[in-house]
Amino acid sequence: MAAKYLKKENLVSWLQTLAKERLTLVPRREGDAVVFRPFAPGQDIPLDQQATTPPKAAVFPQCEPLLAFKYAKDPENPGKVGVQVKEKLGDTPSVVVGCRPCDARGFLTFDRVYDSDRASDLNYLTRRRNTLFATLACDEPASTCFCNWVGSGPADAEGSDILMVPVEGGFVLEPVTEAGEKLMEQAPLEDAGDKAALAEAVKENAAKALGEAPDLSQAREKLLSLFDNMDFWEGVSAKCISCGACTYLCPTCYCFNITDEQSGAEGVRLRTWDNCMSYLFTMEASGHNPRPTKAHRLKNRVGHKFSYYPDIHDGHIACCGCGRCIKSCPSSVDIRQIVLQAIAASAASE
């Protein structure tokens, strides 16, 4: 299928059709934030700027019950207590409409970890395979955007199923995957005609507006070489307040914690987001904590994204450049600056 044109006024009817078959998540304004929520007719769908939170929870919920368990005495042998376990899998077919290319691309970072030869995470994969992305290309970058630094761009279709390019009066829809094509078949589309050229222009302008990306090819080694330089890390982390806003808003942060929440003889095993900025993240049962200060923890966050992860995943940076960690940081910690400083600092020390 070639690119097609969707009039702005037809967006809602398309969403309505989609929502009949799939959980359809769209941006919604809630208070001062824009978050992804199930589509509901009559609600405003703010598409003019990046949502406050990424659609990460669509595939990787903030909290998901992995199983429910119950202890019960064996009636034949009361001394024996058995445990019954019921697994849970989230397999609702879903589609996210109106996320940005960086948001959809974030899951590629997850895939390399949770869908590899070494490990395959059934709970993640079930959701992942059931979730599609109709991504809105960016026409103008924000001051915090740096997707071009990490090998992407404002119209990057990687990780998306449909790419929607905003043009005057509507969107040019480009199918990326077969599944995306099927979704497009349900939309009241028109031939793109001369809109296709407009879409190309939008993409080009957006890419141009992002400017030149600095060369980060050195970051991997340079960050490693700074591993033991705590002066450097104490310097760049001084203003960090060690909260988890950056990681929980990050489309690529995939760490989790597993806890049993039990009440009486029954309970649930939960998987919840966890974050490396928290003191408890690396707290060991012995009481020892290998990352006792925020400097250690920020070092891990930056190092993991730009050095350790690329090291074992063919050079892919575990950052999609969405800039939420900068934009929403209470102290405006800028990860771009830290990476650049690391490259410069280790250059100076050589």
Partner: protein
């Protein structure tokens, strides 16, 4: 016997060991009839009661919470209830912005010898909670959680 038979609500009582728990005991020994909606948790002193005990109970679905300790000047530990009084008063007023009806929480003083007074306090508070009815389920998640629990293997 519940204030409204067959329609028991959940009221949590935090009672200090030295006075109010004794008072409740006195009422029991004296065979004074009391509503059965109240579940008592004994604490060493009203000063032990973290206001968060009360909020935790209310947030998780208690229909009412009653705190009772020794009368001021009568604290077994001399001043525990003086501190409690300040905390509980602030707590009660805090409820006014939490969307929890402040009448669902009350604190009072009952001594070990006041079996009669204890009976009145419980009766009056239980009646009040029954007038208010079951606490509104705060959120849809409460329903979702209930479903999760119900979906557990039997």
């Amino acid at each position: 016997m519940s204030a409204a038979p067959g329609n028991e609500l959940r009221i949590i009582g935090f009672l200090c060991n030295w006075c109010s728990y004794g008072g409740a005991d006195t009422a029991g020994v004296g065979r004074m009839t009391q509503p059965t909606d109240l579940r008592i948790i004994r604490v060493p002193c009203s000063g032990r009661i973290d206001p968060l005990f009360v909020l935790k109970a209310l947030v998780n679905g208690a229909d009412g919470v009653l705190v009772s300790g020794c009368h001021p000047r009568d604290c077994h530990y001399a001043e525990g209830n003086f501190y409690a009084r300040r905390r509980l008063e602030v707590l009660k007023r805090f409820l006014q912005v939490l969307g929890i009806d402040e009448r669902r929480f009350e604190y009072t003083w009952v001594s070990a010898s006041e079996g009669q007074r204890w009976q009145e306090v419980v009766q009056k508070f239980t009646e009040r909670i029954h007038e208010l009815g079951p606490a509104p389920k705060i959120t849809p998640d409460q329903m979702a959680m209930a479903e999760t629990m119900a979906a557990q293997p039997r």
